[in-house]
């Protein structure tokens, strides 16, 4: 195992244990306090930060620019898009409103000149080229806020997009995303999925190489969000020798004690790393101290 990543759930008010707890915690955390948590995690072995393109994470990156504890090689692993943000737009403006909003943002970003020239209604939709442009637009502000000493570890697609794509087998879109991330950013493309077995099968059926991508997916003792079952996910991982899987939800959304989570992971082969959320400096110290034993074992 090579990497221990800090997850952003606690920083943006996500909790799988209780939404009321998440609301209380997030009220206590501003970007400054979060930077202290991240610095503590770094001092106890965290090697990267994985985050969705939520506005709070942009503030965090900007605040991290002044942090002195970031060591060279600290990795950033953005996950895009921030799905809830788009659900909100759909609620406000409807499905057609969402499409228009995204196209409008692309136009305003100056990245799609054709849209501005031809007008949205007359535009010939090419989702593949739009996806590339969309990735650039979504990442731009986060990359410009990238603190010194950090590097881009991977660019990951959010689980909703990944899993929908796998359901409809939209291989061309995945291929385009992978090519673009590789060519434009010089890093591995990545996929977050809560349907690990199906995702791997889809990838193999399409003839894509799993070796060149990062896969972030839940692994925990109780099988929380491991679909279709814990056993099948474990068996699937065992057959992947590429070592490019990042385990997330290791605490099953806060349900499992840390020691049980670590003991379970000790028996899981082929993991590249772990992503875990922490909500306080004490929590960061305990969590990364325990997880570091996995790196060293």
């Amino acid at each position: 195992m090579r990497s221990l990543l800090i997850g952003d759930n606690a920083f943006i008010g996500v909790s799988h244990l209780s939404q009321s707890t998440a609301r209380e915690k997030v009220e206590k955390l501003d970007a400054g306090a979060i930077v202290e948590v991240i610095e503590k995690a770094i001092s106890f072995g965290a090697s990267g930060f994985t985050f969705s393109t939520h506005p709070m994470n942009l503030q965090i990156l900007k605040a991290l620019q002044d942090a002195r504890t970031i060591k060279a090689g600290f990795g950033l692993y953005p996950v895009l898009p921030y799905a809830e943000g788009y659900v909100r737009i759909t609620n406000e403006k409807g499905g057609i409103g969402l499409v228009r909003e995204v196209l409008s943002r692309l136009t305003l970003s100056g990245k799609v000149k054709a849209v501005a020239k031809a007008g949205i209604s007359a535009m010939k939709l090419d989702p593949v080229s739009l996806l590339r442009t969309y990735v650039d637009m979504e990442l731009e502000s986060y990359l410009s806020a990238k603190p010194e000493n950090t590097h881009l570890g991977a660019v990951l697609l959010h689980e909703v997009v990944t899993d929908l794509g796998a359901s409809f087998r939209t291989g061309r879109l995945f291929e385009s995303f992978m090519q673009h991330v590789h060519d434009s950013y010089g890093v591995r493309p990545g996929f977050v999925t809560r349907n690990f077995v199906r995702f791997v099968k889809f990838f193999q059926d399409e003839g894509f190489s799993l070796k060149d991508v990062a896969i972030m997916t839940p692994f925990n003792r109780i099988g929380f969000q491991m679909n279709p079952s814990r056993e099948s996910c474990e068996a699937c991982l065992q057959h992947l020798s590429d070592g490019n899987v990042l385990a997330m939800s290791i605490l099953a959304g806060g349900y499992l004690p840390l020691n049980e989570a670590v003991e379970y992971l000790r028996g899981i082969p082929n993991l590249e790393g772990i992503a875990v959320g922490v909500s306080s400096k004490r929590h960061a110290e305990q969590t990364f101290t325990s997880l570091r034993t996995l790196l060293e074992s």
Binding site: Q19, N91, K93, G95, V99, L125, T170, N195, N227
Partner: protein, 324 residues
């Protein structure tokens, strides 16, 4: 919701999306470019069922269009099964029209009250029905979200969209009806916060046959609720129960409720959370599996149109009480 259900259904064994009906040309273009070529697109729903051999249709359109679509589809194909996103209709009268339309149908019908497929709400129902709470005294419940923090432009915010009562509250009302039966609406009030044509907040006092009384609030304009959340707190003479989307907790009143071991807590992780394919919460997958299984076996399922119509009845009575 159409994207969600189609993504799930397309991943379940023995199920495939064959056709999509959409009126917006831009959305059809985007979907056609993205989705497999085996999926056919239509602008006319009747033409779709006439041309395709469909086992079932998912209706995930604006609420006001649900019933006209149900009537058309049931008339065009007596064998087709229908799934309608919640609520069934914009009014009780409309809901009855939907029920009439499927009465002689050979297909099955279901409404998307997916909270009934959540293990925590199922456990809460078991506790209530077991009588372990003792005589039920009162309840308080809410359904909150941050969906509306400014005037919106979609159909939800037009008068016919029905506002928070028709859009957000139905899940909570369905669970209350499922738990306790049909309520009497004792009083209700509502108010607009951001929307010009619909209400953003509603409050109702309800009374059930058992004597249980309580109140419910629904508001879609609370910024701190990143995700929609339901909470129901029921106080019985022996114990109190709290159920949310995340957990169910029961606390004994014995020894003033302080006796250790007097409370039981079941988080959603306490249950088997695995599903064949996960695209939101697992209850959506379980809901779709239940519907497709009923379609396959041609057996009546729940919540069907007849039961879902009760929620429209309660909604109308709350609306009438709040308006009077």
């Amino acid at each position: 919701m159409g994207i969600l259900h189609s993504g799930i259904v397309n991943s379940l064994p023995d199920a495939r999306i064959r056709a999509i009906c959409e009126k917006e040309t831009l959305l059809i273009r985007a979907a056609r470019a993205l989705l497999p070529k085996t999926i056919n697109f239509y602008k006319d729903h009747v033409r779709m069922v006439q041309k395709e051999e469909l086992d079932a249709v998912f209706i995930t359109t604006p609420i006001i269009t649900h019933v006209p679509l149900v009537v058309d589809l049931a008339r065009a194909d007596r064998d087709v099964s229908l799934f309608v996103e919640k609520p069934l209709a914009g009014s009780y009268e409309q809901a009855q029209m939907a029920c009439d339309a499927v009465r002689s149908s050979r297909g099955v019908h279901m409404v998307g009250f997916q909270k009934r497929f959540s293990h925590v709400f199922q456990k809460a129902k078991q506790f209530i029905e077991s009588g372990s709470l003792g005589n039920l005294m009162f309840f308080r419940a809410y359904s909150f979200s941050s969906d509306v923090l400014r005037e919106g432009a979609s159909w939800r915010f037009r008068r016919a969209g029905g506002g928070v009562l028709l859009d957000l509250a139905p899940h909570l009302l369905d669970i209350l009806v499922w738990f306790f039966g049909d309520p009497v609406v004792l009083a209700a009030t509502k108010r607009r916060l951001y929307s010009r044509e619909v209400d953003d907040y509603v409050h109702a006092i309800l009374s059930f046959e058992t004597g249980l009384k309580g109140h419910m609030d629904a508001c879609w304009s609370i910024p701190s609720f990143r995700l929609p959340e339901i909470s129901i707190e029921v106080h019985g003479k022996n114990a109190m129960l709290v159920v949310t989307d995340d957990f169910v907790k029961i606390k004994s009143n014995k020894d003033g409720g302080t006796r250790s071991g007097g409370s039981q807590m079941y988080l959603k992780q306490s249950f088997d959370t695995c599903v064949p394919f996960l695209l939101a919460d697992p209850e959506f997958t379980r809901e779709d599996e239940t519907f497709l299984s009923a379609v396959h076996k041609r057996t009546m399922t729940d919540p069907n149109f007849f039961n879902a119509a009760k929620v429209n009845d309660v909604i109308d009575r709350i609306e009438n009480s709040a308006s009077s």
